[in-house]
Structures are given as C-alpha cells and as structure tokens.
C-alpha cells in the first residue's frame, strides 16, 4: 500500500485534468469521470468505475438488502481495522462448516457492532471457502440514519427470531450475539464476564432449523470503548438503550466514537450439532436451557484462555 504513495499525486492531477477537459467538451459528470479514470492506477480505476455503475443503479441486492458490491467496496476499510488497528489473530476458522446453514454464537461488547464486522473479515480472509455471514443487530440501530442503511448493505438484519429462522432456512451463515444489549452495555469492570444468554432463543432457532451452533470467543472488543459510566437520562431522550461515557466519548464528540486500538483474538470453537434432536426438540425447555448453558460455558472458558494468550490489552 505505502509504495503507491508517491505515484498518487501525479495520477490525481492527470485525472482531474482529464475530468475538466471532459466537462468542458460538454460531457455529463459521470461520463467525464469515466474518461478521466484512464489516468488512474488500475485498482483505483476499477473502484471508480464500480462507484459510477452504482450511481446508475447498476448493482444487485438480495431480498434482505445485502449488497455484495457495497460490502466489497468497504472491505478495505474493515481489512485495515483488522490488520493494523486491532491486529486480529484468528484461530479455528476451519471449524466453521463451509456450506449450509450455520449459527455462529459470539460474545458481544462495544457499542457499535465492530465485533460482527471482524468476524466477517476473519471468515472472508482466512476461511478456505469464504462466504459473507449475516448478523443480527440490536434493533435500535435500525432507527439511526446511515448506520441503518450501511448495516443492512453489509449483511446486518434486525435481531428478530423470524429473521434468523428465514436466513437459516435459506442455508445462510448467521451470527448472533445472545447477550444482546446486556453485553454491549456492561461497564468496563465487568469485561469478559458473559451476561445471561437471553432465554436461549438462539438454541431454539438452531434446533428448529437443524443448524449447527459454532461458539465464537472474541477477545479485544471489550477494550475498544471502555464504558466507565452511563447517562440514563440522555439515553431516554435519544431513545437509545443506554448512553455510554468512555474516556473519549462524549468528551471528544464524534472523534470519541473512534474505537481504541486494543489487540484482538477471535477463536471459533467446535460446532455443536443440533440436527439429530429434531425440530420438535425446540419445545423442550430443559434441553434448550442445557444447550444454552453449554454454549455459554464454552465461550466463557475460551475467553479466559484467550485473554491469557493475548497478554497485555494494547501492546
């Protein structure tokens, strides 16, 4: 990446010159940009042409609003966060089945769903047969501008059991965070202590659809927004579930939403097979709670092990 640095400036000047002559010749802006793109290095040219195609509506979305093109366009940013910002180390990615329905179940931390995006990069980068996971996002995020539309384009859906069921029936790879808002909003002092896993709804869904559960332990996400206090009154006013106070937010304003560069580890654990129980087992309260506890226990254990292996949080 850094070797491209010195070439960028002359290329950009040539690009602007061509765009300007194009515009003076009476071309519409998109066409002028396409002409100008010939002056750019190859990868930049391809990106620009893709962006222009998008402006004509020339791209596809699936019925969930997932937009593979968009996901690929923003991938370099998440890849940067993955490689340089958080220096994520991934283990056991090959334990995720390469095809068919799978339910990834992970611990959840941080106010924005960064952990979901990092799981996504891990699978796309390191899995022998990469595919885009879909993830269930806390529903209040879908009432926020930009976040709501960005999230759905990269594969996020509202955290609703109906969505999870339908996605699994379509043989997708689905990531859920059963701790939900309890996990994302816990104070820094409680870090890496798993909260209650809801009422085991995710196990019910896995049983009903026969999808294997792959527990995922994520270490590092707890340090990106160390929440030291909560302002419930402000949260009520904004309609958010909580309003966190971190060392940088809201002190530095929007800059405070930049996550801290902690060091991450993501470990995918052995899948728990559910198909043999049959779909009726979803109504068996005892079994559901037992499996929930089993998943939770394994993630908690893996969290402690990975914390030790990671060592210091930031260096």
């Amino acid at each position: 990446m850094s070797s491209a640095g010195p070439e960028i400036v002359p290329a950009a000047i040539a690009f602007m010159r061509r765009v300007r002559t194009g515009l003076e010749a009476g071309l519409e802006l998109p066409e002028a940009l396409t002409r100008g793109a010939t002056a750019l290095p190859k990868d930049a040219r391809e990106t620009l042409i893709r962006v222009l195609d998008r402006l004509d509506g020339d791209y596809t979305e699936d019925e969930w609003g997932f937009d593979e093109d968009f996901a690929e366009l923003v991938e370099p940013f998440f890849a940067f966060m993955f490689d340089s910002w958080w220096r994520v180390q991934v283990e056991g990615v090959e334990r995720v089945p390469a095809h068919g329905r799978v339910l990834l179940t992970a611990n959840h931390a941080g106010i924005l769903p960064w952990d979901a995006t990092m799981i996504s990069v891990a699978l796309l980068r390191e899995h022998p047969l990469p595919r885009h996971p879909r993830f269930l996002v806390l529903d209040w995020a879908f009432d926020l501008p930009w976040i709501s539309s960005g999230m759905r384009k990269v594969g996020g859906v509202v955290a609703s059991p109906y969505n999870a069921m339908r996605l699994l029936e379509q043989d997708q790879l689905v990531a859920v965070f059963p701790e939900g808002v309890k996990g994302a909003g816990k104070p820094y002092s409680q870090r890496y202590r798993l909260q209650r896993f809801g009422r085991g709804g995710f196990v019910e869904i896995a049983l009903r659809t026969g999808a294997p559960i792959v527990p995922v332990a994520i270490v590092g996400s707890e340090e990106i927004y160390p929440k030291v206090a909560d302002l419930p009154v402000v949260a009520r006013l904004l309609g958010a579930p909580y309003f966190p106070v971190t060392p940088t937010f809201p002190l530095l304003g929007p800059l405070g939403t930049v996550p801290l560069p902690s060091k991450w580890r993501i470990e995918f654990l052995d899948p728990i097979e559910t198909a043999s129980y049959g779909p009726e087992a979803a109504d068996d309260r005892g079994l559901v709670l037992e499996l929930t506890e089993q998943v939770r226990g394994r993630i908690q254990q893996a969290l402690y092990a990975n914390l030790v292996r990671r060592g210091p949080a930031f260096i």
């Binding site: 509506g57 019925e63 969930w64 926020l144 609703s160 109906y162 339908r166």
Partner: protein, 319 residues
C-alpha cells in the same frame, strides 16, 4: 368451477378495469359485473356495469340482482389524491365496506369474497422483522389513518366470515402495485423531478407487478383460502437504487424537517406524500409470500426490480 358469476366493486379503478378485462377472457367465468360511480378505464366486452356508489344503501338491491357467487372487493382507496381527501377516503373504505357486507347478507348464491386489501396494515417499522408473515398484523400499534382503515375493513370481513361459514373470505394484503400506465403513489413519486428521501435512510421497498397483482386475484377467486394472504413480488429493492433506476435524483432531507419541506414543496408542484408513504420511505417493508405460493397456488413471476424496470421501459406516463 365453471360458470362463475363475479362482481367487482371499484371497477372504475385501474386495477378494477384490468381485472374485469382479465376475467372476461376467462372461460370459467360466465358473468362479470362491475360496480362503481366511475366508468371502467378500458373497453370491456361483456361486463355488466352497475353505476352506483358503494356507500349508498341502494347496493343492497343491486348486488343480489346480479346473482353473483363471487365478489372481488377492490374499492379500497389507498392514497388521498385529487378529489379524494382523507375524509372521503375513510368514508369510501369503511362505510363502503359496511354497505357491501350488508348487501352480501341478501345474496344467497354468494360463496367467495376476495378483498384486495393492503400490506399497509403492517405499517413500516424500524424494528420489524424483514418479512412480515400473515400473523404479524397486530405486532405494532396502528399509527396512520389508512392503517386504521385497513384494520377496520379486515375486522368487518373477519366478523362476516365467522357468521357466514358458507362463504370463504380471502383477504389479500398487497404491497404497492406498479406497472405500465399505472398512476399510484409510487409512480407519482418516481415521476417527480427530484425524489425527497430521508437523509441516511435507504429502506427496502417491495412492490408487485400489475400482472402478478391481477393473477393473484384470479388465483384467489379459483382457490379461495380463508384468512389473510400476502401478495408481493419476490425480492426487495433499496429506495436509492430504485430512484437511480428511474433516472432521478434523490433529495436527502433530515428526518425532523421531512414533513415540513415536502409540504412546502407541494406548493411548488411536487407531490404530497401520505403519512403511510412517508413511513415507507423511511423504514420500508417486506412481506413473506409463502402462503400465496403454497396455499393459494400462485407464485408471482416478476421480482420487485423487474416490476420497476418494466414500468420504466413501457409506458411510464409523464408526471
């Protein structure tokens, strides 16, 4: 199956007229009657046109005289428009339905009622599942007047169906329809010079092509399934992509100012958006159509984006 006698209410609407033409060409349909105050929009060969207001009690005499075994209730107004304030809209929707059901009591031959209702009953909600199934009608409070109208209409039909076990009542819940030559809220929206959108929101929109819309009614007439059935094209489309396909520009407006700006744009000749449509532009809506395929036996063939593309290619009418 053969020898059906069908009465269509609201035959003067676009969908009503096309449906009458479609049923005329069906060999199983012996007789088609159409009720409306407006003349049908297409030339009809053998439809008996009954000029009457659905809100007036006189239909209690007119409808039994047709000897209908099937009634397709199409006279549901979906958006306020010229000459159709929200008051009149409510009147036609609710009073019209009441009068129709009162008239139905006097039709001993009646076996089937098919209603072209609206998926608007689900509303447009940020936290809703991405695909509403038929049981989710009352998941959220009814927020708009039209939503309340639709809920009331559905309620009347449910009550009617309970009391008349011999009549099967199919409530088709339609996503907005689009097709060549159609004038609906969506086509008016996409025909404006700029399309106001909510800044930062790009909801999923799901539509149904007019051909599929008609075939779904015909399928429900043939194979009436009691209860609600969603009707929509497969797939959804992002609002921004829809606007780009139509070759228009989006005008993003911050959410708190949206109502104020669009209503002053109305004075400049831009289109007014109904409350329902505004919510749709912000949050979007998708419905699950498995019941239509599995129980009614009709699978829509045009996806949402194909429906829009075909509207753009043929017969987009100038605003």
């Amino acid at each position: 199956m053969a020898g059906r006698r069908v009465l269509i209410t609201g035959v003067g609407s676009q969908v009503g007229s096309l449906l009458a033409a479609r049923l005329e060409s069906d060999p199983d349909v012996e007789h088609v009657a159409g009720l409306d105050t407006r003349r049908p929009k297409v030339r009809l060969e053998r439809t008996q046109f009954i000029e009457a207001d659905i809100r007036s009690p006189e239909i209690a005499q007119l409808i039994p005289a047709t000897g209908a075994d099937t009634i397709v209730h199409e006279q549901i107004v979906r958006q306020p428009g010229p000459g159709m304030g929200s008051r009149t809209m409510h009147d036609v929707n609710v009073m019209g339905t009441l009068q129709l059901l009162a008239a139905c009591e006097g039709v001993p031959t009646l076996r089937t009622i098919v209603v072209r209702g609206s998926a608007g009953i689900y509303g447009a909600e940020p936290h809703a599942p991405q695909f509403f199934t038929e049981e989710m009608a009352h998941m959220y409070p009814l927020r708009t007047r039209f939503q309340r109208d639709v809920a009331e209409i559905e309620n009347y039909f449910e009550t009617y169906a309970r009391r008349n076990a011999g009549v099967s009542c199919t409530m088709l819940r339609y996503q907005p329809a689009i097709g060549p030559g159609m004038r609906t809220q969506i086509t008016r929206y996409l025909s404006q010079p700029v399309c106001p959108t909510y800044m930062g929101f790009d909801p999923r929109i799901q539509l149904v092509d007019i051909e599929d819309a008609l075939e779904a009614i015909v399928a429900a007439v043939r194979n009436p399934v009691p209860g609600a059935v969603n009707v929509a094209g497969p797939g959804t489309i992002g609002l921004s992509r829809m606007i780009r396909l139509a070759g228009k520009r989006a005008l993003p407006i911050a959410a708190p100012l949206f109502g104020a700006i669009t209503s002053s744009g109305q004075r400049l000749g831009l289109d007014a958006q109904s409350e329902d449509f505004q919510r749709l532009l912000r949050y979007g809506r998708g419905v699950d159509t498995r019941r239509l395929t599995e129980e009614v036996g009709y699978t829509p063939v045009h996806t949402t984006s194909q429906a829009i593309e075909s509207w753009i290619e043929h017969g987009r009418v100038a605003a």
